[in-house]
Amino acid sequence: MAVNDLVIGAVGRGGDGVILSGELLMASAASQGLYGYMVQSYGPQIRGGESSFRARFNKAQVSSPGDFLDLLVVFDWPAYKMFKQELRPKGGAFVLHDEDNPAPEGESAPGRLLAAPFAKLSKSSTGGLQGKNVVMLGVLCGLFGFDAEGVRAGIKKKFAKKGDEVLAKNLAAFEAGLSYGRSNATTETKNVRLDYVPGPPKLVLSGNEALALGALHAGCRFYAGYPITPSSEILEFMGKNMPRFGGSFIQAEDELASIGMVLGASFGGTKAMTATSGPGFSLMTEMVGLGSMMEIPAVIVDVQRTGPSTGIPTKSEQSDLWQAVFGTHGDAPRVVLAPSDVEDCFHAAVDAFNIAEEYQLPVVILSDQLLAQRKVTLPSLPLDKPVFNRRQPAEADLEGGYKRYRLDGPDGVSPMAVPGDARAIYQTTGLEHNEKGEPTSSFHLHEAMNEKRFKKLKAIAERYHYVRRYGPEGAEIGILAWGSSKGAIKEAVASANAKGLKVAAFIPELLYPFPKHELEAFIKPLKRIIVLELSYSAQFYKYLRTFLELPEERVLLKKRSGGEFLGVAEVESAIEEAFQ
């Protein structure tokens, strides 16, 4: 017997090597061509807090981390308490622990308890306790039949830089665990073996990595940023790779400087980006206004976490929507994109640069912790995605003198000269200006320039239709949601339709300007509309109501704080409620 879907978790304290073991399992799955989806969780402490991973494997693509664990490895019983309720109910899960670290008196495990000598085998094979996590991986492979060769390859890749001795010790720990696991495997453990045929290897990527790769593909050659969880992986990726691609990377003194540097580089003709989280974006909003006024292409990533203020820095929320769409002084058009899975993070980055360059305005990408820090396996990335550049003045644009902000350009776009071009020298300003860029306090020019700047949004709304839609035509119930919630919704919609409940979902990936007509067409035939979001104040629902009637009697609003991601069961119960 074998299973089609497997969810494995491990929980311990910082220093137990839990996260690394999850990464090695993902590498192994990817080498077998399996689909994987892994989330990691840390307490807010840097070391010593609880630390865990949950990884789901399947031969078909999965879009959520799964609601229940089939197998949980426990390194730390106090931390286990927080994960106990995630075990598959009715004793359907295995709980594996070190035989030297038995469950405390009175701790009931709703699953089948298995003990293995992690510490002992680590000592005998490496001389120390540091190999416990790698022993554990060996035991898992032995007991449950995961691909050992893939884990071995992962260990080699991970530890190659640390020298032969460290590598040899880790391999020895793995083999010790593997041979223990193999000789202790039972029919029961063999029954949770994943059913699959190995295929071509897959990529392992996080949302942050996919986004950064997309930026490089789009031609981004300048990055400035300031570290903030959960966006720092983008900063680190750029610090490593931007110079390799001939670009510039600067860790700025703060977020004000980050966005300032980005605007400076882009003014100079270089595609530029910064990434931050909600608090950092708040610091940047003054210069979102400047970029909008000066019409400078710029890409700003906000990887959302719970707020306000420091909130829960390591957990997702969808509560930066208003600040992304509305945040800044004045009437300042910008574009807001919201990718909803890892592959879309790549698309969003390329689209963001394309839109910023063609329409000369700031583009915000709203990601979130669950999307940014999850790791998934993917067959490939669309590296043939087209890339656009800004329009520079042609000879015809210079007749009668270059006008940086000419009002008669198509879609409000006027050609932008790059310093060094002797034909089209101009001075730009955050003051309201005339077509040449000279300061003005004329009401009429202010009105005309506002119209020019907002015309671009109209053109973008007509041209781009970024919506992900799931479920059948003619559905009775429709779900409206955005961002990382898509994963659970996609699975819940599929399972509901399989049960005969006609449900569809509408996930906009362009949040501003909003694909209003598509949404109108989607909701028209619906009997009921479910709005699902992780924002206590229902920012998404209220935002939709700024341009659309959404009568309360037709709407089932399911909103709550972030801090825990949306589960498939949670969506399913909302669907059932809507059908009642």
Binding site: L213, G264, A422, Q427
Partner: protein, 288 residues
């Protein structure tokens, strides 16, 4: 303009008429910048002048070079982004003391630390002029302004002292009515590879009083004969002076900065312009 025809100061001047009050020191500063650029014969299209907000920050609009008049206090980061990505351009930042050492003080320190190859002309008038007369970070202790009716309780910041301490590699002080001295310092500041700070006392006759020129002139002192600007400690002796104002190049040092570091980092990362890497190769690294 062809390279053969010599560029004159007026060739760097735009057609806009400055908004400054009659008698404002900033007229002298912008005139000195025109002359310094003409002396260096820099092509207008290869020069970018950036600023923040304040009376003096209107300056980029009066230049016939590329210009960028941004938001309050953030001219230096914008200039840093531009210079890092376009080292071929001559980047000049102009602005007031409030812009530079109050709201933008954090950036001032870090731009100095990075030794970004930018020339920073600070028009120091010891008052907030654009907002009509509030206390500035450089206003002397005890002075009454519109926001310190009972006297300024705090000591002033000396921008030169701060620049030297933070790692700027060219620090000078000059006076807006001293055209010869300004042009001499500005040409050297622009040529200097690294962060150059030119603290220019530029009187605000509207909010500091129309006797400002008479007030400053007797206080000006050139640096002593044979002064050696290579000593940081020596330069500090001419900062925070009482009753006198020493002008000239207080400090000068050479060390690699932003532009050299970016080049070095690209080299360390293995970038070769002749065969730039492919994104496909980078993606390959994400397969197990």
């Amino acid at each position: 303009m062809s390279d053969q025809a010599a560029r004159k100061p007026n060739d760097y001047k735009s057609s806009l008429k400055p908004v400054w009050c009659p008698g404002c020191g900033d007229f002298g500063v912008v005139a000195a910048i025109y002359r310094a650029l003409a002396q260096l014969q820099l092509p207008q299209e290869k020069v970018a002048v950036l600023s923040g907000i304040g009376c003096s920050s209107r300056l980029p609009g009066y230049m016939a070079t590329y210009g960028f008049n941004g938001v309050h206090g953030r001219a230096l980061p914008v200039a840093t982004g531009l210079k890092a990505s376009r080292p071929d351009l001559t980047v000049i930042v102009a602005g007031g003391d409030g812009d530079g050492v109050s709201i933008g003080a954090g950036h001032f320190i870090h731009t100095a630390r990075r030794n970004a190859d930018i020339t920073y002309v600070m028009m120091d008038n010891q008052i907030y002029g654009l907002t009509k007369g509030q206390v500035a970070p450089t206003t002397p202790t005890g002075d009454k302004t519109k926001s310190t009716l009972y006297g300024n309780p705090d000591p002033p910041i000396d921008p030169c002292e701060l620049a030297i301490a933070a790692g700027a590699t060219f620090v000078a002080r000059t006076f807006s009515a001293d055209m010869k001295g300004q042009v001499e310092i500005l040409t050297q500041a622009i040529q200097h590879k690294g962060f150059s700070v030119v603290d220019t006392i530029s009187p605000c006759v509207t909010f500091r009083g129309d006797d400002q020129y008479d007030f400053w002139k007797p206080k000006l002192r050139p640096l002593p004969e044979g002064y050696d600007p290579s000593s940081r400690a020596g330069a500090m002796r001419f900062c925070r002076e009482e009753g006198v104002l020493t002008t000239g190049i207080l400090f000068r040092d050479e060390r690699p900065g932003l532009v050299e570091h970016q080049e070095q980092i690209r080299k360390s990362a293995g970038f070769n312009p002749a065969s730039p890497p492919k994104i496909e190769d980078l993606v390959k690294g994400f397969y197990p």
